[in-house]
């Protein structure tokens, strides 16, 4: 029994030591900038930027291959903060602030093909083969990825109606340079 215990202990120590050494010397360099950019993005993996998901977009941003203006859900605020982080000038002239939208299925056109369900990254579409598909509006984050895959054009994006419940004061317009100056003053 002691031989077994001893040999396993030795094996454990040797292999553990090897792993420890390997972790130190063969560590994969992770780009800290990439990680930081990733944490700034919405993380909903909607793919509207044209990349597979948020981390791929962050990687492209870190390499300087992608424009900072591609993230639609992030809006103007994200573009500005990304531009600041990367030290580039963001061209906001062509940027159109999108209002929050949700997808809606026209029931008389839905043929129950499940293509939109497979596309949805937030499980916001319920339905099954040859049965009615319905958007669960509360779960829909409005990425619009289901719209182009629908073979019968049954899905449309609808902007949220402003009601007493969800209306809020518009955010004040901040002039970038001006506000930075004032922040410095405050300190």
């Amino acid at each position: 029994m002691w031989i077994a215990i001893g040999s396993l202990t030795v094996m454990g120590l040797v292999m553990g030591g090897l792993l420890g050494v390997a972790a130190r010397f063969l560590a994969v360099e992770e780009n800290p900038l990439e990680e930081e950019l990733k944490s700034m993005l919405p993380g909903s993996q909607c793919g509207q930027c044209g990349y597979v998901g948020c981390s791929q977009y962050a990687a492209a941003l870190a390499k300087g291959e992608a424009a900072v203006t591609l993230c639609a859900p992030g809006g103007k605020v994200l573009i500005e903060s990304l531009a600041k982080k990367l030290g580039v000038k963001a061209d906001l002239s062509e940027h159109e602030e999108k209002v929050p939208e949700y997808a809606f299925i026209h029931e008389d056109l839905c043929i129950g093909c499940t293509r939109c369900i497979r596309e949805c990254s937030s499980d916001a579409i319920m339905g099954a083969n040859k049965l009615m598909h319905t958007i669960i509006i509360d779960a829909c984050h409005g990425c619009g990825k289901c719209v182009p895959v629908c073979p019968t054009d049954a899905i449309v994006m609808i902007p949220y109606k402003v009601t007493l419940r969800n209306w809020h004061w518009p955010k004040p317009e901040i002039e970038q340079a001006h506000s930075e100056h004032e922040v410095e003053h405050a300190h």
């Binding site: 029931e107 319920m126 049965l131």
Partner: protein, 105 residues
């Protein structure tokens, strides 16, 4: 391990979606979860025998046993006849998008 599982029961209409989160005992079936959720009282038009049932987009039988985090879905039938929709679109001369077999014409 707790002996209860977290599940959801969903019934969706175009303008109103009911998503009920509930804890159910282990070995609860699809049918059992629907009864437990009380959705039948809110929507008397649901008939567990007639409405098709499923879990996350996959049709299942009413006596299928649920696992933790399953979403039980109560489906409604299609309003359109898929063949009819395709025919209409063909007549209008609009090609079906991706995957529409008859789009070549």
């Amino acid at each position: 391990m707790s002996d209860r599982i977290n599940i959801e029961v969903v019934y969706a209409l175009p303008h109103e979606q009911v998503l009920l989160k509930l804890q159910a005992p282990q070995d609860t079936t699809v049918d059992g979860a629907i009864r437990l959720s009380g959705i039948l009282e809110k929507h008397p038009e649901i008939d567990p025998g007639r409405n098709k049932l499923g879990i996350y987009g996959k049709l299942t039988k009413a006596d299928a046993v649920l696992r933790d985090r399953d979403r039980v879905e109560i489906y409604r039938p299609l309003l359109a006849d898929p063949k009819e929709v395709r025919r209409k679109r063909a007549e209008e001369g609009r090609a079906m998008k991706k995957g529409g077999g008859e789009s070549a014409a």
